[in-house]
């Protein structure tokens, strides 16, 4: 399976400036593993040390937030579009 991964602006400098890359994998976890193998500098911004998704990263398969599809186990089919967007959060604390 090959998916097109859209790279957010903030991660592009560490990933060669690409706006999107084609990555092989049949789950979101496999896709992110392959992505971070090629770009190890961004691994800490995408995944926790136990392989789960970083709390402040939103990952979508097409229009679906993968938190509701099983996280890193979410299935990916050929031609899917995966969008990575850093969460937007903060507060008074």
């Amino acid at each position: 399976m090959t998916a097109l991964v859209r790279i957010p602006t903030v991660l592009r400098p560490a990933m060669g400036g690409d706006t999107s890359v084609a990555v092989e994998g049949s789950t979101v976890g496999e896709i992110l593993d392959h992505l971070t193998t090629n770009h190890p500098a961004v691994k800490g911004q995408l995944l926790n040390s136990d392989g789960t998704l970083h709390r402040f990263l939103n990952v979508y398969v097409n229009d679906d937030d993968v938190r509701y599809l099983g996280g890193v186990d979410a299935p990916v089919t050929n031609g899917d579009e995966i969008t990575l967007l850093p969460a937007v959060a903060g507060g008074t604390l």
């Binding site: 229009d63 969008t83 937007v88 959060a89």
Partner: protein, 141 residues
């Protein structure tokens, strides 16, 4: 500099008031010169008076919409319900994009204070919020 029309300023404050007692939040779309053309209100999924988080579907929708319309997500606004309009340590630590405008609204003050900042590697740099003529579509909020 962030250029904000009175229509968009009111939409930001209205979103924040509607969220009370929680913090309110949303995104700003516009052109890269810092002119806001659209406000995208978001539910505060942190559901808190002291924290905010933009809804993940609102974020994806704003990202897609800005792509389709040739606009950019200029940044995010949120309210402080009872403190000054200045980024907190949490705001600073979680600011994802050095190019973004981080707008903080204080509802402690009347009229509400609106200030805008760039946050780059933990450094806070305030910028002018200019009043601009209204451009774009009227907010649906």
């Amino acid at each position: 500099m962030l250029s904000l029309s009175s229509v968009h300023r009111d939409a930001i404050v209205a979103t924040c008031i509607r969220a009370l007692p929680n913090e309110g939040c949303g995104l700003m779309l516009g052109t890269l010169d810092g002119t806001v053309t659209e406000i995208v209100p978001s539910p505060n999924v942190a559901d808190s008076a002291k924290l905010y988080e933009i809804d993940s579907w609102v974020l994806l929708g704003a990202y897609r919409r800005s792509d389709e319309k040739g606009l950019s997500i200029l940044g995010v606004f949120h309210s402080h319900t009872n403190s000054e309009a200045y980024p907190s340590p949490t705001d600073t630590a979680q600011a994802p994009d050095p190019a973004w405008h981080y707008v903080v609204v204080s509802l402690r003050d009347v009229p509400s204070a609106i200030r805008s900042f760039h946050i780059i590697e933990g450094e806070i740099d305030e910028e002018e919020v200019a009043r601009s003529p209204f451009e774009g579509e009227f907010p649906s909020a």
